[in-house]
Symmetry: C2
Subunit: 349 residues, 2 copies
């Protein structure tokens, strides 16, 4: 590849100084029209592509924001071995994080911001989130995707929005839904409309959002005078953990309902129940959380809590931009509305 032409090449060809070249691009109105034309012509003729690295270094800003996400878990751990059967992986796309990412992308496009995507699985030792943070003016991260300590370190330098996270200090913001109350509402539906007496919970406590869901479930059952079975550990994206959790539930005897912390897990549960000759809602009620596309397409369609996923992503960008403009000194924690969506998996017709 040819050496990339620089401002020096353009300046020389146009017969001006590099400062003039720079001004031509950054503040065209400050340059005489004919000078500007000469510079632009020179730039075109040498194929000038400004270096974002140099510009970023000089300006102290990159003009990009970052999105730090989970490693999908769709990548095979052993190359050549699919981590997930293609059919299932395909059926699940787009997941929660994909829909949120879409919102982030759309908002970035609308604002002319470049978006840097990063995720775990970097080969080196430094936390990958630090690497991404070094490339951008502000960072959005899914809670649980990066170590809280790393994120806090980053937040000391650039604004951070942790999706579904806790605000813990300066420069840290968050966008989320009221997970506890949403899960409580869903659980109340099962109790009051479907009269369940026993319910199992499948899920994880790895993030504040997940914890809130479990607590919303537990609290509601207790309020209804029912005794929740203990939580069975299961993680979205790790189907085996979900299957094992389900097996433990079944070993204790079929409950009236199986409440899952995410749609992704609920869909696995539906599949596994079917494989055992059981069917929702006839044999057991099943619910999810998130409102991903696959949830509505499932048979039966999942009863779930729909999160405003695109909106979550857009809002995160808005908060970041405000923070970059200096308005965001105060940590923001934005709670967006979610909605119960009744499918047939809970026994409703």
């Amino acid at each position: 590849m040819a050496r990339r032409p620089t401002v020096y090449d353009v300046a020389e060809l146009a017969g001006v100084s590099i400062a003039t070249v720079s001004f031509t691009f950054s503040r065209p109105e400050r340059v005489k029209a004919e000078t500007r034309d000469a510079v632009l012509a020179a730039a075109d003729s040498v194929g000038y592509v400004p270096s974002a690295s140099a510009r970023g270094l000089a300006r102290g800003r990159t003009g990009a924001i970052g999105l730090y996400a989970f490693d999908y878990l769709l990548e095979p751990s052993v190359p050549g071995t699919p981590a997930l059967e293609p059919a299932r992986a395909t059926r699940l796309f787009p997941l929660y994080s994909d829909e949120v990412q879409r919102g982030v992308q759309l908002e970035c496009r609308a604002r002319g911001l470049a978006l840097m995507l990063g995720s775990g699985r970097q080969p080196d030792q430094r936390p990958a989130v630090i690497d991404v943070a070094g490339r951008v003016d502000g960072l959005i991260a899914f809670a649980g995707a990066a170590a809280p300590a790393s994120l806090q370190q980053v937040a000391r330098r650039i604004p951070v929005v942790e999706l579904g996270g806790l605000v813990r200090g300066q420069g840290m913001h968050t966008v989320l839904v009221d997970n506890g109350e949403s899960m409580a509402e869903l659980t109340r539906h099962l109790v009051s409309v479907h009269g369940i007496r026993t319910a199992a919970y499948l899920g994880d406590l790895g993030t504040p959002e997940f914890t809130a869901r479990w607590e919303g479930f537990e609290r509601t059952l207790l309020e209804a005078g029912l005794v929740p079975r203990g939580r069975m550990a299961s993680a979205p994206g790790d189907d085996r953990s979900t299957v094992e959790a389900l097996e433990r539930v079944l070993a204790e005897g079929l409950p009236d309902a199986i409440v899952c912390s995410t749609d992704q897990e609920a869909l696995v549960v539906l599949d596994e129940l079917a494989a055992r000759g059981l069917r929702a809602p006839d044999d057991v009620l099943v619910t999810g959380f998130d409102g991903i596309v696959a949830a509505s397409l499932a048979d039966p369609p999942l009863t779930t809590v729909v999160q405003p996923m695109e909106h979550v992503g857009r809002r995160a960008v808005e908060i970041l931009v405000a923070a970059l403009d200096g308005e965001g000194t105060v940590p923001e924690s934005d709670v967006l509305p979610s909605a119960l969506r009744i499918g047939r998996s809970c026994g409703c017709s």
Copy 2:
């Protein structure tokens, strides 16, 4: 936000030179263990986040690749006015480009590459693709998303993979399917299995891929001794253009089949036919191209050509990486296999 600590701060605190700090991160094995520990401790304590701009400038490489995509057209042109009714926009996600992007993302993650996302709609005058190109070591672009001239300019400096584009010179690569033959196969199916006599074509000639599709259709009809109706201009993502194209088709009298250049357009056609009391395949056969998720979910499911979208994205990254490693001096044009997928919209049961 506090001033970001630099190598100088870390070096001072650790009592070493900045070179040692640099080596500690880039080649840890070249540094004595205790020195390394001291540096890492110092870095941690000041919250050091290396500047990718400075590193990129010094190294001449950014460690990121770029993906330049269309502006979705889902953004309202007049703020506040949805460009597309939410229901339809949602139903269509993920589109062809989303699935390809997913492949790019997955491959980047697997390789520890950062991914820079860019698209049109930048507020300034310089082509947005130039801006993205300045930020990365290699660029993937959807054909038609950027002006060919800009892309060629970029390709003189960094390797470029134009998805579905033509290879026009050094540093330009492409990944695509055999659009002409695939469309021909689809058309032959309509002719030989369903015995169509008249067929209308809805689509665009804006990219080489689209042109090849039209030609494959036209050629096949002529070979079968049928006279194709002229192509009706319609663009995916611009629903109004598709609706108008359909109106022109209907004004000429209902053909046996309506062949669309993309699933996205075919889905609009199905909707609009329904709105006129017409139904595929009873009143007219309808086909698409791409194999997006919404195509299989449509009623009736679309007969279409399925592109290996995720694979296209992954392959593009592979080509770029090879080119960056210096193996890619020769322009590559990679043709991936596609497959006819029979739905019910063509009249098959």
